[in-house]
Amino acid sequence: MKKLLLASAMMAASLTAGSAFAECGSIKMAEFNWASGELMANVDKIILEEGYGCEIELVVGGTSAIFTSMNEKGEPQIAGEQWVNALRDVLDPALEEGRIHAVNKGPITGLGEGWWIPPYTAEAHPDLKTALDIIEHPELFPDSEDPSKGAFVGCPAGWGCQAVNANLFKAFDMEAKGWKLIDPGSAAGLDGSIAKANERGENWFGYYWSPTAIIGKYNLQAVPFGVEFVGNEHWTNCIAKDDCTDPQKSAWIKSEVYTLVTDDFYKGNADINAYLAARVFPGEVMGAMLVYMADEQAAGEDAAIEFLTKYQDVWTKWVSPEAAEKIKSSL
């Protein structure tokens, strides 16, 4: 028995001696099941493994599944791209009670939902600066089935954003101004309508979100709404609901993405927390990477290596010079 203990103690000692950062050890990290989530998780994995000597296990999941597991079980320890708008009710108490910590409140810049137009439309009509300007010109966006109306492509039936688009359509009085709210049917339908319009240089006006490959690929421009955000209360209780009777004009609610870590992890890993806090992907770089992933049909790991090779000026600022050297030599 003593021998066994001794042996395991020695093994543990040799293991810790082997890695440069003894305190890191093995960590479970969330890999969100969409392209940017995949990329971020794999970039973190390579940086933490090569630069900080951690051992990372990726856990694949969606927004609420990952959060529930973190909150209840303390695993995974890190969630890189947690979209928090839908989680407010559960996230706020968890943050307050210190079970979860938000180490980075904006790991990607320029993200969010809203209304978009293609760049050539923006260029050809510089006077269309906001949604308020655009809705005065339905004739620029003719609907193919009824060319006398302007087509505003909303969200597929059944998605959360469908109610929001329908209510904003009503609030901006778009029907009376000669618009038609088009239901694209599905994500594929929405993507297809953007792809078709952009391949042919036709004007397009509708809903989408960033960061996504399609926004990056066609360089779609987010349209400022030209009005203020109406406030959380009206948004949650009316605009986001199907049965909202009197929706007010509003800008889209700000989408927030946090990098979350569990309390146990937060306490013992100052250097990794510092890395996670510094790690901010510029929106254009993320967009370009998502286009790369879509074009090359690249999985998360390949994309992460591509990112680390191509955008060294971006990520080397996130880590210490020594770590940067180690990561570079591992590529």
Binding site: S144, E145, D146, V153, P156, A157, G158, W159, I182, D183, P184, G185, S186, A188, G189, L190, G192, S193, A195, K196, A197, E199, R200, D295, E296, Q297
Partner: protein, 302 residues
């Protein structure tokens, strides 16, 4: 030592195309399709313009007709097809329930989509079937194409249809037709080929021209099979309305989708059952109509 270790490497590792080559191949094909879309998309869209306007007009007509008149017209059609008072009453009740449960407009949209696509399938399918029945060589070419159309997953051909035509009624219609047209082609072909050789000889003996033979002998005798084909086509068109709604065709299908996205059990069931109701009416009427024609032709026959 396992079998794998004893064999030379080229036997155990499939000699697959290099990753980079494969990617370039896919990208190349995608790029050429994109170029094709840019150059011809508008022309193709213009080609379908009359069909689109017809669909828009027909849907507006169905939606604009007062509901009692619409029910009366549908019941009349059922009577003309099936000559059965039970069928007529059943149809009327089903339609009233659909309307009462708030699905009238979506049902009319689905009805418009299914009617127009059935019409298109028949207009294209029967001539193709006739052509196939006349030549074994044409048949040998068309049969595998029909097989592909029936088995290829709908999502695969939705991609090019979306890129060419975008979202809306016509792409939905095309998606439906690709899936629903094979039965009417196959069964037209089969029906004509099954016509008794003696009858054809007799027609020849009376000096019938090939055109007369086709129109007055072969097609009438093939009618039962032909109707079975039409019936199958309608059923398959109805089965496709949910998939068509993925690319923006409206109606009961998009309500079913909405229910699936949100786990609205009752909403999904109700709209699904409305599709079933339309299917039953179409099925019974076209079958009865087919049978009546069969009786008729058998009398002449015997």
């Amino acid at each position: 030592m396992s079998l794998k270790e004893m064999l030379p490497e080229y036997m155990t590792e499939f000699p697959e195309m290099g990753r980079a080559d494969l990617r370039d191949l896919k990208k190349g094909i995608d790029q050429s399709f994109r170029t094709f879309t840019r150059e011809n998309g508008e022309a193709i869209e213009n080609f379908f313009y009359p069909l689109k306007m017809f669909m828009v007009w027909f849907e507006k007509l169905l939606l604009g007709t007062p509901w009692p008149l619409m029910i009366a017209v549908l019941c009349l059609l059922v009577w003309l097809g099936a000559r059965s008072i039970t069928m007529v009453i059943g149809t009327a009740i089903a339609l009233l329930v659909i309307g009462y449960l708030g699905m009238w407009e979506d049902t009319m949209r689905t009805l418009a989509l299914v009617s127009v696509s059935t019409f298109v399938c028949i207009a294209i399918g029967i001539p193709v079937g006739i052509l196939m029945s006349k030549s074994d060589r044409i048949q040998a070419v068309i049969v595998p194409i029909l097989d592909i159309m029936q088995t290829i997953p709908a999502f695969v051909y939705l991609i090019p249809v979306l890129m060419l035509l975008g979202i809306g009624k016509v792409p939905g219609l095309i998606a439906v037709c690709i899936y629903a047209i094979p039965p009417v082609v196959r069964l037209t072909n089969l029906g004509i080929r099954l016509v008794d050789k003696d009858v054809l000889e007799a027609a020849d003996a009376f000096g019938a021209s090939p055109r007369q033979k086709m129109m007055q002998v072969q097609l009438p005798l093939a009618l039962p099979n032909l109707f079975a084909g039409v019936n199958q086509t309608i059923m398959m068109a109805l089965a496709m309305v949910v998939v068509a709604s993925l690319i923006g065709a409206h109606g009961l299908g998009s309500q079913v989708l909405k229910a699936v996205y949100n786990q609205y059990l009752t909403h999904g069931m109700m709209n699904g059952l409305a599709i079933v109701t339309i299917a039953i009416v179409f099925d019974r009427v076209s079958q009865k109509f087919g049978k009546r024609l069969q009786k008729h032709s058998e009398k002449i026959h015997g």
